[in-house]
Symmetry: D2
Subunit: 428 residues, 4 copies
């Protein structure tokens, strides 16, 4: 289906992953819902824990980790962004599946940051248990008071203090929300973004720092809902940080390098999110195709009605375009680097959520009432895709990145096309 | 703002209603949420009960009831569909407000049916307490097993049985869902649609019958969610009816007249829903305008960014068009009747939900994370509008009604336009 | 079909106009094309001249002229903007029909300006023959070198010169295009917009002045095509004005009052254009409905295919919405004035061309090859509607007007809605 | 920019082709218009003839011809569909450029048919001069009386007659239009599709046959316009065939094999058209970017206005998606064959014209009046893209192909996904 040839190893991974989904995930969708709803919503779900060892046994574990982050050969599945992207789609077809393979956000991004920039100490304390699936982590950046899609707006403070005995600590204060994963009791650490030097040049003001979730001063104020859903057991929290103290060794990469780290994690994260959304869209399309074969209205199966068939055809075409665009962006990251691929990475952030939303919306329309209810995964899929359309900036922010790149590209090119245009006259 | 001149009485009602909203509803939005979340979600909300007497005192009560349904002058505010529509928009701006004025669905439709077709006994038992706001009611039509947008698909049975002593009863069996309002403990009666004669001509097979919610055999199986919302304390239920027995006097209007009743309630119900959606869209637009004035991103207020301004302008234009179309449909109902206005009534069912969804979606985009969370009413508004886009048939069903009407209209007209068209040649 | 009741006089005009169209216009569409293509494209078309006296006899002449422009009761059909709008739609169904009734642009706007602001001398020389249909006129504003949707960009100069004998003249220089109607040999005068005082406040720099088309220094450089059409015999010209001299009495209203005049002609012109576009869209819809009944593909009539029926239904709904919005804008102009209706007048400028384009495009799709060819009026209609989407500013300019008005409206309103919003919590 | 690595030879061709466009095509756009408008529109254009030898010298000639059609190694550039597609985009940037390289429709399709299915005699008489660019050809299929997007509707007759002396001839009768290229005086032959056996199974009724344009009974009735353009000097003709007689050796491949040939030419033709459209869209985007840098409105360059930047970003994204989809379809044709790629080939037929139209339309909007006039190539590009959206069937036909393929794909897959769906319950 793609313009690149999958290696035998990748093909094997794709097949085994698909089989795992067929055998262990799809048949357990109802069970997952039951377990979440049964007890305390904010506890781990036994089903997840039961399936993880199976995935590990099958070698379907930590597939996201690129080899380039691993100086000693310890970490990393050795897949390119393009290769892993195809696996991401398969796992993403069920929203809670990626965790089974230790491939869920924000843990993947956090692990990648730790693998790439972490000190040995940081890796020992946090990366190892994360890679083993023993703990979970969260990512803390967005603030309720400011438009956080413009990261320079962020106001949280990370202040260095040197005690009389020479001990250096960072004191952290901030009001954050959309701290994803913070509702999970196994969430032990967060990567926190804040300003350590408001007087520095705009892109050197921010740092990223590791904060244990149980550090004094860290308070989960409440869990946020997303269209009525609380996304238990992971959830999105509003969290306050009041005079939270962490040792100097918690700083990631160095003061003022927050943006640099953010840039690094941005590309792969986008690919992952987008491919998962494409997986969701494929799933919605499958459900729509199937349901339309099984319903009759006004004397005809839904699948025989032209408008339904058109919805299905459009969905197929939009999905295929979104997938190709995302794979192409991944391929550019692999070949020319994240920076040169900036416009492409921005483009998929606009396309994939919108396509997923359009396809899921059509599926809801075909299902009728069942589509918005708990009897299909569609409404939940919609809510998540809608959130991803916002997360990390609304469409406008990313379209601006694309536009900027377009103006730059044209400025470079002193093209005959353009100079000749001025007297271009079409035959009339 | 409209092409018709509001009478002094209507203008007065509009002003008092707006004042009531400003004084009692908007300031209590947070409180409403708190009360619903506080205790058992499926109990009445004290705030609602406290506000109802105020609305009654102000004469803002049962405004929906048209005078034509009232032979004795007892019921009815005497407003035309067009007039009431304008009030409906004002009340609809907050989703839980209409109940304060005893103007909420499905009670309004049920009361109208009872007022128009009910026997004296039926009116005494059910209409009076409904008009007084003492009890609530539900409407039971949709079935999970069939595409219920085609009402001829409905399979529930209403069978007449004559006992040896000559007593006539109806025995009802059916599996229903989306029985709106059934979660409310004060819901005492439902209007139930089912087939009493599957051998009759297609539109004479169905009847509507009154069933007390506490009748033996009526079982609420579960409450359905809409996206993640349960719409407590009203809710949408899956309900089974197993050998439910009601006396012969429970039949509405007569056996086989279910479609006739459905047609009668259809038009006003559509107007109400659409105007409430327009109220919701106006609300979303206001919030978007306000929020965009208060947020800064990339060095500019959101309200200074061209793409945000364009979203606001488009929203204004779409809302105005939807309102005019709906008012025009109401005016046609008032002047040429529901049947002649069929195409117009179908058209607004497509337009209003889609416009509301588009506007709310833009508002969510402007708000970012807050837009999908419980901190704005937007996500809930979206979920409800999305459901109304399905309720009573998806877009395709209503577009088909419009198309049919268009072909009919043209068939009638033996227009010179058309006959001359065949040799129409444009100057080139 | 509308929310206002047409007066008996208006109803009579509507009926007689429709009859005239049926009897004299539609049957002559092919003939019109033949006559234009037959000889010199830039001569008057005999058919037009033959039909004008008939229209005059029927009292279907100069209907556009509002009574308020006529101090002595000489001019004006006495119709409100709302009333005339409905006639405009009827005439607009065939693009060359309005001229038959002396109701075509830009003559109508020019006549209105002359009737409202013209001196007796100006009216005698230009308005009278225009009202009689003896001559035609053009309007000269747009310039190729600048974005003319921002009228302050205009660079043409109107310089007052006093000769030694005290005679005052204006000397005009400018490079203009899209001078509509200038290709017509009967076009005798143009209303020209240019700057007489670049140092004045921005909206007082411009004047409008009357220039005879045969004045020395006026040169038609070429006719512009619109898509491939030249719009013969009227056309759009590129015209240069080199040291054109006109007497002082040619100034309209007074120096620096060009914007004021432009504002005055803006509203009615928009209504006219929009209603004509709606007429075109209705025509396209009729053709689409008819053709789809007469074509078979893949074993079914096009009219039996769900996707075609959906195109027809959407067209009907969009047209009805556009018409209501335009009539509503006209009604506001009649009741609260052009200034208060500014946002509404901007809105229709966006909606009507876009709706017409969408409907015509669907009709083209249904017709296939015939749709883009000279065998239907559709492609020509499309080209004209596309141009109207640009003329007088692209969508973005008008959306900005709507947005500005929306922010202003909200700023005025110190609404409880808004202040209470901040703690709005939806029930979850 | 793509996921496949261009070979050194392909890269070289891309570079030389781009250079040729820069040196010889763009600088001559105005000259081309002048030459077409100067004399008899239906004569060859000298500029074209002058440039052809240059292209031949550079080896930029007949690049379209795939090697598989060439048994003796005489024909064919040896490029895959995927490879040639990238060249097609470059040539397609100017609508009249492909002919310079002997790569223009319908000649390419005709040459491919002759190369693949032609007898030696047919190849000697027609293919050789076509490959040398000495003559031109047309393709005759569409009929005005029937919806020709359903090719089984075609009514033209090809009847075999055996004379008394045993000579076999075909007698052809039919009324055709949209015979592309027939206006060119060098057009010497047409490939004609008609029914030779209406009693045969539906897909075996049609044949394709070679008819010299100067055969008695072939009459060009008139040239069709596309919007207002006549596409001189090639054009689209309405042609009648009255008792046209051709020898038996004119039949292509064999009686009843018309559909088979049509299928074979379909895939590559689609790729070519779509890539040319993408070239056109890229061109429009470049012009839009450039023009927006050079215009000021309301105090800002157009390129500084958010809505313009958004139009540019969306255009970039849509073009990239359309290109990837088309290249992917070409790659599938190369690897799994035209039949297996049927859905993909249908998909691009929907996507590419619509994307091109959207981008060109935005460019027109940015240019204002110049955009619809002869001063930019945009309006002509729009007209051609609009026609390609119809040619070969409207969107609905191709979407139906995609939908059919989707239902088939799902039917094959007895997926656990689906069976498990029925009890899928999302966590709420």
């Amino acid at each position: 289906m793609t313009m690149f040839d999958a290696s035998p190893r990748l093909r094997d991974l794709q097949e085994r992953l698909t089989r795992f989904m067929n055998e262990h995930i799809y048949p357990n969708e109802a069970e997952f819902g039951r377990q979440v709803n049964a007890g305390n919503r904010w506890e781990h779900v036994q089903l997840i824990e039961d399936l993880k060892p199976l995935a590990q046994q099958e070698g379907l574990w930590n597939l996201f980790l690129p080899p380039r982050t691993d100086s000693e050969g310890k970490f990393g599945a050795g897949l390119t962004n393009l290769e892993y992207a195809t696996l991401c789609e398969i796992m993403g077809r069920v929203w809670w599946a990626p965790e089974i393979f230790n491939c869920n956000a924000p843990d993947t991004g956090n692990m990648e940051v730790l693998a790439r920039y972490g000190t040995q100490e940081q890796q020992d304390r946090w990366l190892k248990p994360l890679l083993a699936g023993k703990i979970r982590s969260s990512f803390t950046m967005t603030e309720p008071e400011v438009a956080s899609s413009d990261a320079t707006n962020i106001q949280a403070q990370i202040v260095k203090e040197t005690a009389s005995d020479g001990t250096v600590e960072y004191v952290i204060n901030g009001h954050k929300w959309w701290t994803s994963g913070a509702g999970d009791p196994r969430c032990k650490v967060t990567i926190f973004m804040g300003k350590n030097d408001p007087s520095a040049p705009k892109h050197l003001q921010q740092s990223m720092i590791l904060i244990p979730m149980d550090a004094p001063g860290v308070t989960i104020k409440r869990m946020l809902t997303v269209f009525g859903y609380d996304d238990a057991p992971h959830g999105h929290a509003e969290v306050t940080f009041e005079n939270v103290r962490v040792p100097a060794s918690s700083m990631l990469l160095g003061e003022g390098r927050g943006f640099e780290i953010a840039q690094g994690r941005l590309g792969p994260g986008r690919i992952h999110h987008c491919m998962r959304l494409i997986g969701q869209a494929e799933r919605a399309l499958e459900l729509m195709v199937e349901h339309s074969e099984n319903r009759v209205a006004f004397g005809k199966k839904l699948s025989e009605q032209g408008t339904v068939r058109e919805m299905i055809a459009k969905s197929r075409i939009e999905i295929d375009q979104a997938r190709l665009l995302t794979l192409h962006a991944a391929h550019m990251m692999d070949t020319v680097g994240n920076k040169a691929a900036r416009s492409q990475i921005a483009a998929i952030k606009v396309v994939a959520p919108n396509v997923a939303l359009a396809v899921i919306d059509r599926a809801i329309q075909v299902f009728g009432g069942a589509g918005v209810s708990q009897d299909t995964p569609l409404a939940n899929m919609y809510a998540q895709a809608r959130t991803l359309r916002l997360a990390d900036g609304p469409d406008a922010v990313h379209l601006e990145t694309v536009a900027k790149s377009e103006y730059k590209a044209q400025a470079k090119q002193v093209s005959n096309t353009l100079s000749s245009k001025q007297e271009a006259v079409s035959a009339d």
